[in-house]
Point group: C3
């Protein structure tokens, strides 16, 4: 666990998270652009797209662009009791501009705090309802005294654009593996700097691979409206090409692994994710149901889209106490946490790349010993584990079980199975067959 490259990578990811953490992201605006620019420094081929406000995307329409330069509340003593520059969660996202003086009572109608978490600034948005508001720690809220308050939000909510980025990395096959993440949350770390950070580094890793069987589609969008806009522009390609997809979200802390399945059960990425967690990484994890969804699987798995898309997360959104507050900060995530998130989806990709379906070229068992494929125990019906694996991979390679199904049947890692299968193929004992969807067993 201490190999240098892992440490390097973990640290690089954490540093990148620190870099993008403070940007004032929202559904739209310069915070999103700033984030995409930072990603583009690491992924120069990233394409950045702008969709004008008012564009129809399926049932929705691209909203006005929101930008903010400053926001604060000053009490009658001239003290700034809320200062957006200290934490961008202080302002309700998409707040309309305001510059006025109000009583405490009037102010409180626009304040949000969490009595049960008195030190946490909550995260609130008001994307589709024009209003303004501030969020603050309840402990600070309780200190507010009667009097007049100057309230300033120097924001713009005007026709502009929705910004997103994507990148296609070609492979030998046209079939695609989709990685999608979102870039609309302001200063929170697990949800959601971790998503674009890990996706960026996964993309760099993919680009570094010399051989790529599948084509990769990387998508950095604002959640919901961004995903919908993206799907509306790419629906046919997505439906024809996506073999498996992963939404990268909540991949930064080091407390848990979580699996969100697709709407339709048993799809390839779900099989792969379960295999990775249980038999490759061998970590405990919580399997949620699609009823507990909350991210862009809501769009990718919706009727009419129906892509096989899952999420392998660390602590799932909505399940940890710091979620959607200022406590979800850089101390909550860690280099190890990010690396675990990176490793899970990277391994899932490797599983899909390596998964093939083979068929025996011989009838009956092959003569393993002639080829040195059977540990030459003198006598001995007890096979070495490797010989047993050779025998099992051969026995199940009937053109119906893919390597993943064979590994699941045996209860071992697909990488061990694939290595054996490669040896058997080199020996002319297996031939690759057109992939087929294995029947449920």
């Amino acid at each position: 666990m201490l190999d240098q490259s892992k440490n390097n990578l973990s640290q690089q990811m954490y540093e990148f998270a620190k870099k993008i953490f403070p940007f004032p992201r929202s559904l739209t605006g310069d915070g999103v652009r700033q984030t995409l620019q930072a990603i583009k420094e690491l992924l120069p081929d990233l394409k950045i797209h702008e969709i004008p406000t008012g564009t129809k995307v399926f049932d929705w329409e691209v909203p006005k662009e929101w930008n903010i330069k400053d926001a604060y509340v000053i009490n009658s003593d001239g003290l700034k009791v809320i200062d957006w520059h200290k934490n961008n969660l202080h302002v309700v996202s998409y707040s309309i501009p305001i510059d006025t003086t109000v009583t405490l009572k009037e102010l409180k109608e626009h304040l949000h705090s969490l009595p049960d978490q008195p030190d946490a600034i909550p995260y609130f948005t008001s994307y589709y309802r024009p209003t303004w508001g501030f969020c603050m720690a309840h402990r600070e809220y309780q200190k507010l005294r009667d009097g007049n308050y100057r309230v300033v939000i120097n924001s713009q909510l005007e026709p502009g654009h929705l910004t997103y980025g994507d990148l296609i990395i070609p492979g030998r096959e046209k079939k695609e593996i989709l990685l999608s993440t979102y870039i609309c949350h302001p200063s929170m770390a697990n949800n959601e700097c971790s998503g674009p950070v890990v996706t960026t580094f996964l993309c760099r890793w993919i680009l570094n691979q010399k051989k790529r069987r599948y084509t990769y589609r990387l998508v950095f969008v604002p959640e919901t409206i961004g995903a919908i806009a993206y799907i509306s522009r790419n629906l046919d390609a997505l439906r024809q090409r996506v073999k498996a997809g992963f939404i990268l979200t909540c991949v930064g802390d080091d407390r848990a692994y979580s699996l969100m399945p697709a709407r339709k059960s048993g799809v390839l990425p779900e099989r792969v994710a379960r295999h990775v967690l249980a038999l490759v990484l061998k970590v405990p994890y919580t399997k949620y149901t699609f009823l507990e969804r909350g991210s862009d699987e809501r769009q990718y798995c919706a009727p009419g889209v129906d892509l096989p898309v899952v999420s392998i997360m660390r602590s799932k959104y909505g399940t940890y106490p710091e979620y959607h507050t200022s406590l979800d900060d850089l101390a909550l995530i860690s280099p190890d946490g990010l690396y675990g998130g990176f490793l899970a989806t990277k391994t899932a990709i490797e599983v899909i790349e390596v998964n093939e379906t083979f068929k025996s070229t011989v009838v009956c068992e092959p003569w393993f010993s002639k080829r040195g494929l059977r540990a030459p125990l003198l006598g001995g019906t007890t096979l070495t584990p490797w010989s047993a694996l050779v025998s099992n991979v051969m026995a199940y390679s009937d053109g119906e079980y893919d390597l993943l199904a064979i590994a699941e049947t045996i209860g071992c890692s697909i990488f061990d199975v694939a290595e054996v299968a490669a040896t058997l193929k080199q020996n002319g004992l297996l031939e690759r067959v057109r992939e087929c969807t294995p029947k449920p067993r």
Copy 2:
């Protein structure tokens, strides 16, 4: 639970049970006619049919008609030790006429009692074997002293008719919901006055509905031979039209709920019955297997008929100690018990009426908030329960899940799902699709 209409209905059903309880029912004869006449007073459109003795019905033949006016046994002191007028269970049903004097020993060859239930008069029949017999409480049986006994059964067993009733209530669709019950048991309450009583009041409730999607077929027949005769006259219609059927039997006591499935598992009324009991009424129930069948599902589910027919019962026949004895009397059933039986099948009907299959008219999630379909929590990824339901109904409406399958997936009542689906349809977000049989999940 104390609303007036429920109380009224419960009482009306109980009074009607009291009214028909004493009629001397058997497979055939005036007791059956009397019962059907009483039902017809409540259901004027009921059609009463007579099938002549000797008519071939599939493998069977309609038996002679049996009627009885009186029956008794007098001991040598001139005392009536058995008197049919006191309880019509005293005579073995279909006993041939007799008027003779016998010794105690001879008499005992024709007496039936239950040593383990000394106060219960058992219920015996001898439909297809010409003999005579009396049933009595074992406590009375033990009091019989040596001597001669005058034995009189003033019965008739002669060519006549088998009598049954039916009623078709048309709906918008030709597909039918079948309700069948039997009218051949003499004075017993749970098994079997409760069946025709609850069926009669279900029929009145159906007639009161302003909108009926399905056509309803109500059948009041003597058990077994009556059901066979009915099926023989209506086989093609039944096989073409019956979408779901329910046999109403043992629906009068208040001690249990029971489910008898159809021969083929997973048919619509079974899915519906389980949903009603578990997720609508939320009552515990015993699920029996088809091996424990005992009523007219033996005919409706037989090879060559194979209708989807189940029974939602209270205490199932054969499982409660008073079954088929004089202890199954009007004290065993109750207004509440009858109402529970009524409610279960009524609710099942409502489920089938409301169950439809919808498909999203939009790609991706719709813009709920634009339409006020999302509780406008400021910020807030936590949805209200209603918003979550809206989201889930939309997410699963892919033209394959019917509303019942959606409700089962969510674990809530189909009526909540249907209400939300109606709202979504009004908003143009769902369209009805031709019903399809959902795949097992």
Copy 3:
């Protein structure tokens, strides 16, 4: 359990095991021929085949023939410390001829013993790697002192033949039941005299049956190469005709029952074997998985062959401490053990012979009482067990359930079901339909 015929048969099998136990079997050679000759004395129609060394059989080639006349090791005192005549396990099977003098150190490189089982001579082979070796009890091994040892193996390893036997016993149908066993193990009793012994007596029992529905294919081959050679000569016939197959191995001790399924789950002989063990013999058993295979199912179930072949064993190979040592001797098996092995597969054959699919000739239930098929309980909805069985067999005979599926649904022996079905057929209530594969339930 003490009926004479069973005792006779058990004793005859045990005596035959004693007879063939000492023959020096190996993959090839006169020990195999001697064994087949002994079987042919009991099965005169057995055909014995010889395949020349070097013949290609799928991926393999028939090896040289190995014969041995004597082998021993003499110490410097002139004492025979190992003598093949005392136990033919002392020589590694397929040892090349040798006649030399070696030091103790050199000798030990060719000695095999089991420190954990100091009294057991282990069983070793070196079929495809030319070498020589001796096996001995570790207790004896430890007594060897420094000095020179004369080593003699008077063996021949030369072009010759592989010998096997087979027998086809015709039945009314061309579809076959395959029984296969192996004849290549030297003096060990459970694994593997029991296999050919029980198979021989099963064959005699089959020949004694006056009516045979299926054709029987009996195969006596050396394990692995023999099975592969046999399949290579008969592949088309096997694939077209084998309805169910059983490998007879480890059927001699009396400590356990074991089931090895086929590679594909749920095939007929697996259903049958489970039924036999659970509902006919009512014995506990261990169900292994195909990953734990180790006998000729490796060939019969291989991709490209894929026959429905299972094994019903007593103590499975590899699972009992005496396995593949001199402790697997005639004291380990017993007449009762052999009889249990015989009975399990014999019963499985009887199940397959009796299993048919019937369809009701009537619509609705038949009029059982008219035909005396319903116990004439006066009144009585409680059926006798026999009447209940009659009713259930009739209810499930819809042309889709075979008798085995009906028996499994009811939870009773297929023989009870078949007896009832025969009665119903005689009464014209059931007709046989073309067999269909029942859907999994």
